[in-house]
């Protein structure tokens, strides 16, 4: 009975999972927002970060942006495939998302190693502290998204939890796109200006 009523209560409302995800994203906006605000303010205050900022590779970052944006596309297509109840497309698109996300992390790791090799460590000055803080926190989020997507991909491949897969793909998708949006702002803040 409780199940029936709970479901009945839910008609014509936003699914709880989606609502919860949006509230979670709201708090995430505040977290990244706080860090970004600190970065912008300190940069305006201190000034003279340009020569440090000149050492980060815009090319690599641009490539990474392309990867992440594309992974958002595959994520959406996975969701569309779920709507179309096409399990094979779901699996493939999720797989693509996972691979693109992993590629992003790989490129990031390569970028880090290069900078560390040149002595640009997190303790090499305010700019580098913020650089590693911001991109590192973002990378952690990407990693979390990759893990979640991999789980979904496996579930879809092994034809598990079909009834819920629809919701799950949508919620993880929301998170994944949010991580993408964060990067869309990180990229110009850290690499372009």
């Amino acid at each position: 009975m409780a199940v029936a009523t709970a479901a009945g209560r839910d008609e014509a409302r936003i699914p709880s999972g989606k609502l919860a995800m949006w509230w979670f994203l709201a708090s995430e906006i505040m977290t990244f927002g706080g860090l970004l605000a600190a970065f912008v303010l300190c940069r305006l205050a201190a000034g003279g970060w340009e020569e440090q900022a000149a050492h980060v590779s815009t090319r690599i970052a641009a490539f990474n942006t392309a990867l992440l944006v594309t992974s958002s596309l595959t994520m959406v297509r996975a969701h569309e495939a779920v709507d179309a109840v096409d399990r094979r497309r779901v699996t493939l698109n999720l797989l693509a998302t996972v691979l693109l996300g992993a590629a992003f992390l790989g490129v990031k790791a390569y970028e880090y190693s290069g900078e560390l090799a040149h002595g640009f460590t997190p303790w090499a000055g305010p700019f580098w502290s913020f650089y590693y803080g911001l991109t590192g926190l973002h990378a952690l989020h990407v990693f979390g998204g990759v893990v979640a997507n991999a789980a979904l991909c496996a579930a879809s491949a092994r034809n598990r939890l079909w009834p819920h897969l629809h919701h799950r793909v949508e919620y993880v998708g929301l998170y994944w796109h949010f991580v993408d949006v964060v990067w869309i702002f990180l990229f110009p803040l850290v690499y372009l200006s």
Binding site: V3, M30, T31, P126
Partner: protein, 585 residues
């Protein structure tokens, strides 16, 4: 979300011991777990008070009953200054994050929210379980920090850098890292909780339960959840930065490395002030439930209360710098923030006046919950008016960082957590445990607490006016503080009495579990939905989901024989005016 509900009910028939009492997804069990966690941590936070107060009253003396504390914390009964700072830090951290929040939000919130909205459980029960075990881990980490070399954090509960950002300034190595970790986990836990509360209240309300028919406790819990979720982010970011400063040697907050200490203060207080209301509102909510039930009257100005709560919540985001008037911020910022700060007294004035107006023309029974509710009104009034002093930037030049501030925030938090929280615990204990508490012990507990509390904290305003600084290990070092020592000693004696005053509660709380009279479903003849089911409520809460017909506080209607009409019972042919009043359209 049907699969979530299914998860909540995957456990019929009754689960085994572990799934039922330890890793339970039942919001009632989880709420109780939160409550016990809070009460246990309160013992720790309270014990620290004894040492701190004794040190302030008789600085050069040996502190009795502390022989078991090893060096370097104590040297044959004498307190080490560093350990004094650590106790002050831990007292604040524990009481705010591990006592107030678990009991008021985690405990009462978790237990009551689904019951009050006629739901079978939280919207996301497994997330709920995860949130408890996260804060449990956080509490363990915090306790563990007492035992690492160098001892626990000692930079004050606000953890201002540079003191907190580099071990060389305090000699505390891992203690402070663990402190940051514990806070991060605690924030994570209440983020999950907040997500859950909001989703539940939006999606799981019983048929007919429009937002303006919600019990005010639910409104308060929701506002608190929103405030927490929207304010904690920047501090999480700050905590990460501080941890990196300590471990990797990054340069966020250390001027020596090009950082800015004020940045932390801003990030901390941007969260810190809304946090005050996160703790405050649930206590207010409990009082708002108790007052009508024992005055047998509808709450006065339901809408006014809801709106002023929201206004106060919004204002709480634009006042944070009043914690930093003399912290070196641009002096031109002081007056705007002073104005917004003092403006907050308006919504709270409305709130308090509405509570008092609720008593007007009532028929008041002085059961223990009501005593605590009235105690809340009296003490919170003091906290409110003294806030005006602290809110004035000009006066802060003198009283900031003095005991006037200490007195003030204890007069706001203590009424909330103690009088509000105890009003709630005494009021809902029958619902939670299915047993009645002992009235005599309850009344004794109230009077002892009420008297000793005022004896402890009223003199602190006197100390503050004398210029007595906070966090001073030995006031006798200062000539101008020597005359105040008798006041310090008086406060200490009263504080010990206040601690002892909690014994009747402990006896009552634990004793009633065994010997308490069995509680009926609705011992107080109250109207809200949680009283419509058995005490304690069964797994799944309601045999059949109740339908709500009217607002939460239908007491003493002229047109009914009984002096209350529960929310799930239709009103006798409501006149049009009443219908508009009750149903929020």
């Amino acid at each position: 979300m049907s699969h979530v509900a299914a998860a909540a009910h995957g456990h019929h028939p009754e689960p085994g011991f572990w799934r039922k009492y330890v890793f339970s997804v039942d919001h009632k069990v989880i709420g109780t777990q939160y409550m016990f966690l809070g009460l246990v941590m309160a013992l720790l936070g309270g014990a620290s008070v004894y040492v701190i107060r004794w040190q302030l009253a008789w600085p050069e003396s040996q502190i009795p009953l502390t022989g078991w504390i090893p060096e370097p914390a104590m040297y044959e009964g004498h307190l080490d200054p560093a350990f004094y700072n650590q106790l002050v830090t831990m007292h604040g951290t524990i009481m705010v994050f591990f006592v107030a929040m678990p009991i008021l939000l985690g405990g009462l919130g978790n237990f009551l929210l689904p019951l009050m909205i006629g739901a079978d459980d939280m919207a996301l029960p497994r997330l709920n379980m995860m949130s408890f075990w996260t804060i449990f881990t956080a509490a363990m980490v915090l306790v563990a920090s007492f035992f690492v070399p160098g001892g626990p954090a000692s930079a004050g509960w606000t953890g201002y850098p540079p003191l907190s950002a580099d071990a060389q300034y305090t000699g505390v190595e891992w203690g402070l890292n663990l402190w940051i970790l514990a806070l991060a986990l605690e924030f994570g836990s209440f983020l999950m909780g907040g997500v859950n509360f909001l989703t539940t209240a939006i999606n799981m309300r019983a048929p007919g339960l429009s937002f303006f028919r919600l019990p005010l406790m639910v409104w308060m819990q929701l506002t608190a959840a929103v405030l927490f979720m929207l304010s904690v982010g920047p501090l999480i970011a700050g905590a990460v930065m501080l941890l990196l400063d300590r471990t990797l040697g990054t340069s966020f907050f250390l001027p020596a490395r090009g950082g800015d200490p004020l940045l932390w203060q801003h990030l901390f207080w941007f969260f810190g002030h809304p946090e005050v209301y996160v703790v405050l509102l649930p206590g207010v909510g409990a009082v708002l439930e108790v007052l009508p039930a024992f005055a047998r009257k509808p709450i006065f100005g339901y809408r006014a209360i809801v709106y002023s709560t929201i206004v106060a919540g919004v204002l709480s985001f634009i006042v944070w710098a009043h914690h930093m008037f003399i912290a070196g911020i641009d002096p031109r910022l002081a007056t705007p923030f002073s104005i917004t700060t003092i403006l907050i007294s308006v919504p709270f004035a409305v709130l308090l006046f509405a509570m008092i107006a609720t008593l007007w023309g009532g028929s008041i029974t002085f059961a223990t919950p009501m005593l605590f509710a009235i105690g809340f009104l009296v003490t919170f009034l003091v906290g409110g008016v003294t806030g005006i002093f602290n809110g004035s930037a000009a006066l802060d030049i003198f009283i900031h960082d003095t005991y006037f501030v200490v007195g003030h925030f204890h007069y706001t938090l203590f009424p909330t957590v103690f009088f509000g929280g105890f009003a709630g615990i005494y009021y809902w204990y029958p619902k939670i445990f299915g047993r009645m508490l002992h009235e005599g012990l309850g009344k004794l507990h109230f009077w002892l607490t009420f008297v000793t509390f005022n004896l402890v904290f009223l003199p602190m305003f006197r100390l503050g006016m004398g210029g007595h600084m906070r966090r001073i290990y030995n006031p006798l070092n200062y000539e101008f503080l020597r005359p105040l020592e008798p006041v310090n000693q008086f406060v200490t004696v009263a504080a010990i009495a206040l601690l002892v005053s909690q014994v009747p509660f402990a006896l009552n709380f634990l004793g009633a579990l065994v010997w308490g009279r069995r509680a009926p479903a609705n011992p107080w003849n109250a109207t809200t939905l949680e009283w419509a089911t058995a005490s304690p409520p069964p797994h799944g809460n309601f045999a059949t989901v109740p339908t709500v017909h009217h607002g939460p506080y239908e007491y003493s209607r002229p047109d009914t024989a009984a002096d209350f009409v529960p929310q799930h019972v239709p009103l006798p042919a409501p006149p049009a005016a009443e219908a508009v009043g009750a149903a929020g359209i």
